[in-house]
């Protein structure tokens, strides 16, 4: 999961990496409590926010307020701006790039570094790290020298790299990146932007479409969304809840997913489960469904198989009959792709 810049900045502070003076602003009129000039940065997850107009600068409090108001009304690559980070604008002498990530080729961590950082960064030197030997300080200095850093900067950048490495390991990250690391005219080194990716994932990723999805199976869930789009459907979300989840968990997830606006259908899909108790899972689904107001009249296609599938199918038929839900229940005899076509046909029958 990618973190917002300000969340990454907080982690930088925790590990002693210098960051610019800044304040997080979530509503207009909130004063900036330090002197201009300012950088005003929309807090969105999109990578190209500069190009999309999500970063502005201001030389006074009043022009900063105007820029903040404009940013808070904006969408950056379809993502509404809810927060703006107002930071002290720095005077860069140079902009550097530093990051740690894992490489599936060398099957270990890598250190990527460039003395030419900034938003247009094209190339960085990538050095594999021997995880058993560890990232020794002299190794970092060797790499920085190789990458073309000037002698004067090597120890200071190496010190920040070491802190970034600790952060990378201790917080169990997939990526820790500083771009740019600004060298000011006073020869201070300040991490002006953060990009942090953690190993965790969000429960629900919103995709903006109109068919809600509850999918099971690490691989099956991803393939299912592809199949839905192939069939002409527009997915509202991605979510995955495999590993024999409790009925409570499925109920909560159902409430969140069916709480999305403007739905035309719901698709509950998964491969053939080995251990997941399908009756338990679908009982949780029904409990969540009952709490959705107004009561969903749209079609709900359920394609699940595995332990207690028959009991689950009977329960669903009874619930549909008694409470008037529009269920369509299938097992593994119907392929994921064909059940995708079914939900698309039913959802868009009268519309589109």
């Amino acid at each position: 999961m990618k973190l917002y810049e300000f969340e990454g900045q907080n982690l930088f502070k925790k590990y002693g990496i210098p960051v610019p003076e800044s304040v997080l602003i979530s509503k207009t009129g909130q004063k900036i409590n330090f002197d201009p000039p300012y950088m005003l940065k929309a807090q969105v997850l999109s990578g190209d926010r500069k190009k999309a107009g999500g970063i502005m600068s201001a030389n006074s409090q009043s022009s900063a307020q105007k820029a903040i108001a404009a940013l808070l009304k904006k969408e950056v690559n379809f993502e509404p701006v809810k927060k703006v980070l107002a930071a002290k604008k720095l005077n860069p002498l140079a902009e550097y790039y530093l990051s740690f990530s894992y490489d599936t080729g060398s099957q270990g961590p890598v250190f990527a570094v460039s003395p030419k950082g900034g938003s247009g960064i094209a190339n960085a030197d990538v050095f594999p790290i021997d995880i058993i030997f560890g990232l020794r300080p002299f190794v970092v200095r060797e790499y920085l020298a190789k990458a073309g850093f000037i002698s004067d900067d090597i120890t200071k950048v190496a010190d920040i790299a070491q802190k970034l490495w600790q952060l990378f390991l201790d917080e169990n990250l997939v990526l820790s990146e500083i771009n740019p690391l600004i060298k000011t005219k006073k020869k201070e080194f300040i991490a002006a932007d953060s990009k942090i990716i953690t190993k965790t994932r969000r429960r629900v990723e919103h995709l903006g479409g109109d068919i809600a999805i509850l999918a099971s199976g690490g691989g099956a869930s991803v393939l299912s969304i592809d199949a839905l789009i192939e069939a002409g459907g527009d997915p509202a979300n991605y979510t995955e809840y495999s590993g024999n989840p409790s009925a409570e968990l499925v109920m909560e997830l159902t409430k969140e997913v069916l709480g999305q606006k403007n739905l035309k259908g719901c698709w509950v899909v998964g491969g053939t489960a080995n251990f997941t108790d399908i009756f338990e899972t679908l009982s949780g689904f029904v409990r969540g469904l009952r709490q959705i107001k107004p009561k969903p009249a749209y079609p709900i296609v359920i394609r699940r198989d595995g332990p207690r599938q028959k009991e689950a199918a009977e329960m669903l038929r009874a619930v549909a009959k008694k409470e008037g839900y529009n269920f369509h229940v299938f097992g593994s005899e119907t392929s994921i792709a064909s059940s995708a076509r079914t939900i698309v046909d039913l959802s868009y029958k009268n519309k589109k």
Partner: protein
């Protein structure tokens, strides 16, 4: 023939006294695989499904020198220690079932395996099966004989569920499998597609291989590279999941820890382009796999 697992496989289960470990042991035994010993520290002297439990791998290996594979089913925090214990004891094949091992621990395990010459499958691997010969892990579970049948096609999948799903689709079409492997959905895994494809190269039973890949990492791109340098020559049918992920921000993590949405290398487009240019047959949906495979064998 087959790869990794055959009738000579002798298994140790690290974490055999836990729920998952005990279930996996039971399933392997009922499939006819020889499970010689289990290890759980401080539980030595017990028996699980008739299998003796020891405190250390060293002790198990001393009592049962024939052990040549270990299944690791311990909690995530203990996986690194267990894996390095098995590697140090000289066990050549290590299959890690546990999910959510930290990438740092994964990289350490892999580094030690390289130093000592052990092969690691996983973490987060559902297991390895050579139908009719033996299996390691919980692959196939109760329906194992319905899902897997012996034949000429290798299956390698990042997803445990899809390992079974693809195999059952093949079996229903009358196409059996030589060996099916769930390589695990973590970002760093001990054996990628290429490593195993090179083993299938040497296996006379295998005539073609089916891959299930997804966005994240460079394992699929590596396959294309090795085909172009002729290290991999057997025909391949691949399904790649995650076409839709261009709608998500870079850094989004999907169902598997390794399925990280990115731009450029690791993206859906990069994988499709690389595999296509190397001559791999791409199937859009699972149901298209049997037809594609039939043309190759």
């Amino acid at each position: 023939m087959a790869i990794l697992v055959d009738k000579k496989t002798r298994v140790l289960v690290q974490g055999i006294t836990g729920n998952e470990g005990s279930r996996a042991a039971k399933e392997m035994l009922s499939y006819g695989t020889r499970v010689l010993a289990g290890v759980t520290p401080s539980k030595g002297g017990q028996e699980i499904h008739g299998v003796p439990v020891y405190d250390t791998v060293r002790e198990a290996k001393n009592r049962h020198p024939e052990i040549n594979a270990s299944l690791i089913v311990v909690p995530a925090f203990a996986v690194k220690d267990a894996a390095i214990e098995a590697i140090s004891a000289g066990i050549p094949l290590i299959n890690i079932l546990t999910e959510l091992v930290s990438p740092k621990d994964c990289s350490e395990i892999i580094a030690w395996a390289k130093i000592k010459g052990a092969r690691v499958i996983g973490p987060a691997s559902v297991g390895v099966i050579s139908p009719g010969k033996g299996k390691i892990g919980s692959i196939g579970s109760a329906d194992v004989d319905k899902i897997f049948t012996s034949g000429p096609v290798g299956v390698i999948s990042k997803s445990g569920g899809m390992t079974s799903e693809i195999s059952i689709i093949l079996s229903r079409a009358g196409i059996g499998q030589s060996t099916a492997i769930g390589i695990g959905g973590e970002q760093l895994i001990g054996s990628g597609f290429s490593d195993l494809l090179m083993l299938f190269e040497q296996d006379p039973q295998t005539k073609a291989v089916v891959l299930f890949g997804e966005v994240g990492g460079g394992y699929e791109e590596q396959v294309a590279k090795h085909i172009k340098s002729k290290k991999i020559t057997k025909p391949i049918v691949a399904v790649i999941a995650g076409k839709f992920t261009n709608r998500l921000p870079h850094g989004t993590v999907l169902g598997h820890a390794g399925a990280i949405v990115g731009k450029g290398a690791g993206s859906y487009r990069s994988k499709i382009r690389a595999l296509k240019s190397a001559g791999v047959i791409l199937a859009d949906v699972l149901e298209d796999i049997p037809e594609a495979v039939k043309k190759l064998i």
